[in-house]
């Protein structure tokens, strides 16, 4: 019998939809399908966490869409319907879009008794926090409905009981007729832009006077293009337009303040995709994800994108006649940028997203399916703990990226995760290979039972394909881990086991597909070790 030969692959490189089959032979660690997996910064591909209901699942405003979320103070602010709400626990929501609030602040009783300051035609909301010298900072909210003025909210008081806090709320007048859509705090100014009546104008407030657009240091600038997003980055304000990008410099110096074009060839698809991440601004351009620092450095032509490997996915989004709604978030402890997209009528199951993880090799990508997140946020709360939330079109707010299952409307749902390798040719496409066994290197975070599918010759219909196998791995018990319990945890289980599965079948090439559709714990697939026997060149 021909001597068996080893072949090992460390999984890295993320999803690659752009390379052809032969190119992928050279990069076996990449994935041709990577859905509901994320590229782990520790190496390998990790099945994503699920999401759980925030608190007991009480909705801020019935079944009205969640239009925006922002981590604020020790809770989260949610925009829904024509209102804005705040909650610490998710069990109850305090409406904060109140009118006639005292300039010196209202106590809880007075505040809740105020009439609503309706957010007419409220649509996707944008937030800016001016940290200032208050406990939680001052929150500015604009929305893309452009039917209401920017809204100002501030809460003071550190008592954990919200009824013992003081509330400030008001609308900010930028101009009597302009209701800007986008807002950002930049160098002691509130900058707003994108009003339906002045799409190409940015307005900036007075210096350290964010609620006054007439005081010293305030002004406005008219651009060539329509603004779709704003982002303060280092000492400059980046202004994302539909077909161009500008930066505002020297906002505090009336004599040198200037708008400098960064590029007039590349615009931003949607301001909701802009995030500051890993020292750059990342945004979705019409030709893929780009970073602003890279754009600025390279110039205005031949801009390098960071998402070439998933370009076909982005093309399908752009080419679709369906209007997508975008949202994005940064999961800092995972070095992740996530963009969610779905149409306004898409079901939760069909809603999708893209995860970009920054690794030592650059951005590596994967997909999400089954999370409807038209609004998503992450940030550090008053206790400096990073929190992430998302909201859906049924009005629910969820703890984002947590747990072992999806929980739309509180209904536990499987996470259908799928990883598929490129076809492996083991160095010679012409030789028939009979597979002996595979050892899957895993890091289970609990008891898991993913399935292993092997398909030969690009899943050729001319070749019988073997049945799926189950990969069984026990949860490791790690000393000191809070989840390691005497009498429950299995001691002696390896932390990163190599699970061996005997294989059958032969072909000139084959791919591996590891998938799970359950509510079991996440797991990381580190790599594959395959033993095979060359079996001629028939």
């Amino acid at each position: 019998m021909a001597a068996s030969q080893p072949f090992s692959v460390a999984l890295q490189g993320g999803l690659d939809k752009a390379s052809n089959a032969l190119e992928l032979l050279k990069t076996p660690g990449k994935a041709t399908t990577l859905t509901n997996f994320e590229v782990s910064t520790k190496g390998g591909y990790r099945r994503i966490n699920g999401y759980s209901q925030f608190g007991n699942g009480t909705r801020p405003n019935s079944s009205n869409d969640i239009l925006g979320l922002k981590v604020y103070a020790d809770g989260v602010v949610a925009c829904s319907g024509t209102n804005i709400y705040f909650s610490q626990t998710g069990n109850s929501w305090l409406q904060i879009n109140k009118a006639s609030v005292s300039g010196s602040g209202d106590n809880h009783t007075a505040f809740t008794g105020r009439s609503a300051s309706a957010r007419t035609s409220q649509s996707k909301a944008h937030f800016a926090i001016f940290e200032g010298d208050t406990e939680y900072g001052e929150l500015i909210i604009t929305d893309e409905g452009s039917g209401a003025k920017p809204f100002y909210f501030k809460m003071t008081g550190t008592d954990s009981d919200i009824t013992n806090r003081t509330f400030f709320a008001k609308e900010i007048t930028v101009s009597g007729t302009h209701f800007p859509k986008f807002c950002v705090i930049h160098d002691k100014h509130l900058v707003v832009a994108g009003a339906a009546t002045a799409k190409n104008t940015i307005f900036y407030s007075g210096t350290s006077d964010i609620d006054d657009f007439t005081s010293s240091g305030s002004g406005s600038i008219v651009l060539d293009d329509q603004v779709v997003g704003l982002k303060s980055f280092r000492d400059e304000l980046f202004i994302f337009c539909r077909n161009s990008i500008y930066k505002l410099q020297n906002i505090n110096n009336a004599s040198t303040i200037a708008i400098v074009p960064v590029t007039k060839n590349v615009g931003c698809v949607d301001g909701k995709t802009i995030q500051e991440f890993a020292g750059d601004l990342i945004f979705l351009a019409p030709d893929g994800f780009r970073t602003v620092a890279g754009t600025a450095r390279i110039g205005d032509v031949e801009l390098g994108t960071i998402s070439k490997s998933i370009q076909p996915i982005l093309n399908s989004i752009f080419d679709s006649t369906i209007v997508q709604e975008y949202s994005s978030v940064v999961i800092r402890d995972k070095s992740q940028y996530r963009m969610y997209y779905s149409s306004s009528t898409a079901s939760t199951a069909s809603s999708k997203g893209i995860i970009g993880t920054l690794t030592s090799r650059g951005f590596e990508w994967s997909e999400i399916e089954g999370i409807q997140a038209p609004a998503v946020t992450s940030g550090f709360n008053a206790s400096d703990i990073e929190k992430a939330f998302h909201g859906d079109r049924d009005g629910y707010v969820y703890n984002h990226d947590t747990g072992n299952s999806f929980n739309p409307a509180g209904s536990e749902t499987n996470i259908h995760a799928r990883y598929q390798s490129p076809d492996f040719d083991y160095g010679d496409f012409g030789t028939l290979k009979t597979l002996d066994h595979v050892k899957v290197s895993l890091f289970p975070e609990g008891t898991i039972e993913p399935k292993l599918k092997v398909r030969f010759d690009y899943d050729s219909a001319d070749r019988p394909q073997p049945a799926d196998l189950t990969i069984n791995a026990q949860a490791p018990s790690i000393f000191g881990d809070s989840g390691t319990l005497f009498g429950t945890s299995i001691f002696g289980a390896p932390e990163q086991p190599l699970v061996r599965n005997t294989l059958i079948g032969s072909g000139h090439s084959n791919f591996f597909n590891i998938f799970s559709n359950d509510v079991k714990a996440p797991y990381t697939i580190n790599g594959l070790y395959i033993n095979y026997r060359p079996s001629g060149r028939q």
Binding site: R463, P464, R537
Partner: protein
């Protein structure tokens, strides 16, 4: 229960670490699975070619016409020399695979209208060349003239191997009993059973492995499989063809 086509093919596939077939996809097998199916029929033919008179290839059980143990009976016609070995067979492709030419028996027992004393004797095989040299001309002359014919004493084989001839040409009806072996039926459906007892399925399997390892260019494994096959054939032949006590036979009584 005899080993089926599917069982045998899957045993071979499992041994080769290949995906096995099922009843539902058996008929549409492709690739190595289809090759194993083909190799199975080829292996059965190899066994039949090497030892066509293995008992499980017999066309029928012996002793069908007791007390005679032949499994085929042909009734002669007065004045007719040549008879098809397999009645109704249209060509050599459908004839019997092998005939025990040393075991033809002629009798009037059981022939309509015959009564004791009966003719009952073995027929001696005579080669065609001997028959042509010593008996043909005389028998043909008799047949064309007086047509006395006679009681057959010799059995001869037609040059195309499809008929047996009697010498002399029969003068009346006799029953000729002989032993014939069939060609192995080509396996087709997944539940077709092989002719061999399960005990000897490994011989077929060894031959299949021989072919498949050749297909996979694994010469060493093919050589091992061939060795297994040869050993299996030796054992099968020893067990099934020559199981009787060893003794010497002097058949000069026939001369």
């Amino acid at each position: 229960m005899a080993t089926t086509y599917l069982t045998l093919a899957n045993e071979a596939l499992r041994e080769l670490n290949e995906v096995t077939l099922t009843a539902s996809n058996f008929s549409s097998a492709v690739g190595i699975q289809a090759f194993v199916k083909e190799a199975t029929n080829r292996a059965l033919n190899d066994i039949a070619n090497q030892e066509p008179q293995l008992p499980f290839f017999a066309v029928a059980a012996s002793g069908g016409t007791d007390p005679f143990y032949g499994n085929v009976t042909v009734e002669t016609v007065a004045g007719t020399r040549w008879y098809l070995l397999k009645a109704g067979s249209s060509s050599i492709t459908t004839d019997y695979a092998s005939i025990d030419w040393d075991d033809f028996y002629i009798t009037t027992i059981g022939v309509s209208g015959e009564s004791a004393p009966f003719v009952s004797r073995g027929l001696k095989f005579m080669s065609l060349s001997d028959w042509r040299r010593y008996r043909r001309d005389r028998e043909n002359a008799d047949d064309a003239d007086t047509q006395n014919h006679g009681e057959p004493r010799y059995i001869i084989r037609s040059p195309d191997h499809r008929k047996f001839g009697l010498s002399p040409i029969p003068d009346k009806a006799y029953n000729v009993h002989f032993y014939a072996y069939a060609k192995p039926t080509e396996l087709s459906a997944y539940d077709d059973a092989i002719a061999l007892p399960d005990q000897y399925a490994s011989v077929v399997l060894a031959r299949i492995r021989y072919y498949v390892h050749q297909f996979k260019e694994n010469i060493q494994q093919a050589a091992f499989a061939l060795d297994d096959y040869k050993k299996g054939m030796r054992n099968m032949k020893s067990n099934l063809i020559n199981p009787q006590p060893k003794n010497m036979t002097d058949d000069r009584i026939y001369f």
